[in-house]
Amino acid sequence: MTDKQKQVYSDILDSQVLSENIHGLLKKYKEDNREIIKLSGNKGDLIENLFEAVENNIIELHEIQNLIKDSEEFGDQYIYLFSIIDSKSANKYNDGKQIGNAIIPASVSRNFPKIMKNPSNLEWVDFRFPNRGLENSWLVKLYDKKTREVKENERIDASNGLRHVTYRKKEARLVYIAQWDGDEELSLKISRTSFDSYKSLWKSRKQLTDLLNKGVDLQRDFTKTDLSDTINNILINSETSRNIYILMSAKLTDSHNGSATISTYGEDELDLLSDVSRREAINAYLRGNGKARSLVVKFLAEGSDNVLTKDITVVLGRHDINEMIISSKISPQEYKYVRRKIEDFS
């Protein structure tokens, strides 16, 4: 591993991967390598120790790549779910090799998987089939960057009255993912930044679907997975499922399409239904043929039989009927758990 590669890995681990996950990997090898592997220190120390373990052939580089892969592919994302319209066309999507060849130039895919911190522009970085051992599945991944200008300084020139404003460019790394589950679902995942808007998200989705277009005909073969009923079922069943999840906020629409958002005051406050007036307001909407359009649900680690290492907040249907937002980075197992629980209410 060259110094330059090491720096790239180090930067990505520092900015993208949780300390606890780096600690977890080191811990796996601690028992037989007590002299080299240390579990104490800050995140920078843990990363340094990880490279020491690689240099001493204790940990293989692909395990670090897997850490990065997991952190990019699960959580801190907007997720858009699509269902196949005609199950007969699923066969076309089950052929990962053909899909990959159709959408990615051969000269590009030779270098997969690519790891880089900030791409200069849109870049294909990975295509896998099957994805994580799931039959007929595949995953494609791209990196991009998002830029915004942030006002840094402002002054008025007393001699001529002109106002001078200084802006600084701020960049965020974007990860786009499309994955087919080998059965009926296509999901598009877009990483979150601190300068997302409804419009920028729409543009990102459009860009991703255009790039997939040579192999995936989203408009002809797929339709949005409508989460409306799931959202309502989660709301209606929340009292009886309090050991599994609690509600944080709900956006309700009435029969005239007016709306109200009812929320807790913060994530360390009591849940949505703990206050009588909030509960009554929600019930009034439901009795008057109103519906929950979008919902914020917190899945509880305590009720998960140790699958969740922490509570996980999921936003359902905020910008679109097929959208899920998961704010925190989570493990593949945690993602699977959350999806399964949501599926239970569909």
Partner: protein, 118 residues
């Protein structure tokens, strides 16, 4: 016990006794809220001066009646994430309930005061 402690302080600092009273009264009337800002007491409802409010909160902190918690507030005045005991614990980016990611420079971090456990 808290009432007793405040009575003793009111005797020691009679000039701030009305502010002690107002703060205790607020906590009694809002059992479902954990913390309050100093700013709340700077209004014509109370008619206290800023220096007096400052000194009163300082006395209450020194006497382990109140503790500071740091609350992250967005542009609408809504609380983001959870209260922090220490400024160093606040991450560079925080998430709103509805999944918006915010840079710390784009939100306000406001000291609030909560009752110490008695």
């Amino acid at each position: 016990m808290l009432g007793e402690k405040l009575k003793i302080l009111a005797k020691e600092y009679p000039q701030y006794s009305k502010i002690f009273e107002a703060i205790l009264d607020w906590f009694e009337r809002h059992p479902n809220q954990r913390a309050i800002t100093m700013d709340h007491f700077y209004s014509d409802r109370y008619s206290f001066s800023i220096p007096d409010i400052n000194i009163t909160f300082m006395i209450l902190k020194e006497n382990a009646i109140l503790k500071t918690v740091y609350r992250v507030i967005d542009e609408d005045g809504s609380k983001i994430s959870h209260d922090f005991q220490n400024l160093r614990d606040i991450p560079h980016q925080v998430d709103t309930i509805w999944g918006d990611k915010k840079d710390l420079e784009d939100v306000d971090v406001v000291p609030f005061y909560a009752l110490e456990k008695h």
